[in-house]
């Protein structure tokens, strides 16, 4: 262990950042953690990292402990949107600025945090839906969509579902015929897709809330004797390496990126916030979408 934690900037002139991560529940999250750790080291920031194991209680505990340790800046990726006012107020009273990453909170009092840095899950869903509107062959009749949701009750699942539904509402021929939770895992995606394939004679489109479920579903589709990417159009979110590979191989059709690499931006913000500079209230990570052709191009220099 590292023995000096009472120090603020005064001690060694180094900026201390307390960061509370949601957990390590996916490859995406791990990439996110690595990005933050690496860029902290690169930026000369002392990082206090805490892993909350997907529990809000743990994150609140961690923030309280950061306050006790008098870190200079606190950053965290909230597990859920609501429920942060009390502890954020404590941080505010202790004079420690807070940056939200990856996901916002729903506090009415916007002064509780300085800024938000992250992706917009609703937008990811919407981009997926919009691509489908533009590319689906709806002229020949209704298009049957099945949806693999993330963990029931989790924010990305709720928002991607919402964004996607909003987008496809524009075309009444696009119909979600089945929607189940695959828990964001490959095994879950596969198991659910197997049943979708047996229960629905005609499936035209699969929308999976992350790459992993999509990859699991691929296996089920192949086993059912269908050709992924052709017989069934597959849209996913995230763009992790395996997903991009599948996209490049023509098994997926479209991926809305959700970038985990927000470390450099975060370190930048932390320095600014600590120096008392004004920062925009909301900063979205630079994200894009990938089609098959784009994926082939991008694949060689993907980091994660």
């Amino acid at each position: 262990g590292n023995s000096d934690t009472g120090g603020s900037a005064a001690d060694d002139g180094k900026l201390t950042l307390g960061f509370s991560q949601v957990g390590a529940e996916s490859g995406w999250r791990t990439a996110n953690t690595i990005s933050i750790k690496d860029s902290a080291a690169a930026a000369g920031i002392e990082l206090k990292f805490d892993d909350a194991q997907q529990k809000q209680e743990n994150q609140i505990k961690a923030i309280r402990n950061f306050i006790q340790q008098k870190v200079d800046v606190i950053a965290f990726s909230p597990v859920v949107e609501s429920g942060w006012d009390t502890v954020l107020k404590e941080a505010k009273d202790a004079g420690i600025p807070v940056i939200l990453t990856d996901r916002s909170v729903d506090s009415a009092d916007k002064s509780l945090y300085k800024t938000f840095l992250g992706s917009d899950f609703v937008k990811e869903g919407r981009l997926s839906g919009e691509w489908l509107i533009a590319n689906a062959k709806t002229t020949s009749g209704p298009v049957n969509i099945v949806e693999l949701q993330g963990t029931t009750g989790s924010a990305p699942a709720n928002d991607r579902k919402k964004g996607f539904a909003e987008a496809i509402a524009a075309n009444p021929n696009l119909k979600i015929v089945a929607s189940q939770s695959g828990d964001f895992t490959r095994a879950g995606g596969k198991q659910v897709m197997e049943q979708f394939l047996k229960a629905n004679t005609k499936i035209d489109v699969l929308f999976a809330h992350n790459d992993d479920m999509g990859l699991g579903a691929l296996e089920a589709i192949t086993a059912a004797g269908k050709v992924p990417g052709k017989d069934i159009t597959i849209i996913t979110v995230d763009a992790v390496k395996d997903g991009m590979q599948a996209l490049a191989d023509g098994k997926f059709n479209f991926i809305a990126e959700c970038s985990p690499l927000l470390g450099p931006q975060l370190m930048d913000l932390a320095k600014k916030v600590d120096a008392g500079q004004e920062v925009p209230a909301r900063i979205e990570t630079e994200e894009t979408t990938f089609t098959q052709a784009q994926a082939k191009e991008a694949l060689p220099n993907r980091k994660y």
Binding site: G1, N2, S3, D4, T5, G6, G18, Q21, G23, A24, T30, T33, L47, K48, F49, D50, D51, Q53, Q54, K55, Q56, E57, N58, I60, K61, A62, R64, N65, F66, Q68, Q69, K70, V80, E81, S82, G83, W84, D85, T86, K89, D93, D106, A108, T151, T152, G153, S154, A155, A157, N158
Partner: protein, 330 residues
């Protein structure tokens, strides 16, 4: 024929230490762990760090107290985590509907014990194993959470906000939350119940040997149903405290909490097969988990997976020492 003293004393000589040793050992180890924290991290010695352990684990403590009752009878209650979440969820949803805070409190506090009562009845009357009944209760309560809402519901009610943000003590320095006081009241009431009421003593008797308890004419069924109801009530109180704590109801909060709670109770010296243990031990158990968590946050250099490994390792070291000290004194 000689009568006199026919019975030559008891098997073991010194009594007092033997019974208290596990609890004392746990307390000592906890202090050692705290000492390590203080020596390693300067800010650890702040009094507020201790207060935070209580603030952050108040609801866990209340739930663990309820679990202590159940485990003392030799049963188990897996539904607690979900019931906590459901209570918070129901409170949040009702408050969102605009119901008055007092009414919401009453409703929310009634749901847990009702579910506990039903589970207790199923366990007693139909002789189904507690594990399975409370597992179904766990599914049910968690299902209700997602059924009520797929996403978290914020609470903006004035009463809740006050309960959440009121700082008792020096608001700028060291303070505790109201939840901590409530948790303490629950602990004291529970300790009193177990030590001084018939219900409490019956709990121990059933845990010792439920068939004997039955033949001794004790109300086994009633007591067994009561402990699950009590556990339900404690979960409900825990749920309310959690909703104070987070000012929201989230469908996935408290997943896996039952294991933390059981761990806390067992680390506190209560035997899983029932019949022996104290509420005070449970308090220690919760503190052990809390301090481990705090140590890890203070370290701040651990990776996600190393966090888990270190938690496991600390737990192991703690239990091993606890056990070795316990054996020595036996």
């Amino acid at each position: 024929m000689t009568t006199g003293s026919l019975t030559a004393g008891r098997r073991w000589t010194a009594r007092l230490p033997r019974r208290q040793v596990p609890v004392l050992a746990t307390l000592a180890l906890l202090l050692v762990m705290y000492g390590i924290g203080v020596s390693q991290y300067r800010a650890f010695s702040n009094v507020q760090v201790i207060f935070n352990v209580f603030i952050d684990n108040g609801f866990l403590l209340v739930v663990a107290v309820g679990m202590t009752f159940v485990i003392l009878t030799g049963g188990i209650d897996l539904s607690v985590g979900s019931v906590v979440a459901m209570t918070a969820m129901v409170s949040a949803a009702l408050l969102q509907q605009g119901l008055p805070a007092a009414l919401v409190l009453v409703i929310a506090l009634a749901i847990g014990p009702t579910l506990g009562l039903l589970m207790g009845c199923a366990i007693h009357f139909f002789e189904i194993q507690p594990f399975i009944v409370t597992l179904a209760g766990m599914f049910f309560a968690r299902g209700m959470c997602t059924f009520i809402s797929g996403s978290s519901i914020p609470i903006t009610d004035g009463f809740w906000t006050r309960m959440s943000q009121e700082r008792i003590g020096d608001p700028r320095g060291n303070f505790v939350s109201i939840s901590v006081l409530i948790a303490f009241v629950v602990v004291v009431v529970a300790a009193y119940t177990l030590a001084y009421t018939r219900l409490g003593r019956n709990v121990y008797a059933i845990g010792g040997n439920s068939q004997s308890a039955l033949l001794m004419g004790l109300p086994v069924g009633r007591t067994r149903i009561a402990v699950y109801t009590i556990s339900g009530l404690c979960s409900a109180i825990g749920g309310i405290l959690l909703s104070f704590y987070t000012l929201s109801g989230a469908p996935l909060i408290g997943v896996g909490m039952e294991l933390d709670v059981i761990a806390a109770v067992v680390i506190g010296g209560t035997v899983l097969t029932g019949g022996s243990g104290y509420v005070f031990g449970t308090v220690l158990g919760v503190l052990v988990l809390g301090v481990i968590q705090t140590l890890i946050t203070f370290d701040g250099s651990l990776n996600s997976w190393w966090t888990k490994i270190v938690i496991g390792g600390l737990l192991f070291a703690f239990i091993l020492l606890q056990r070795l000290i316990g054996i020595r004194y036996k």
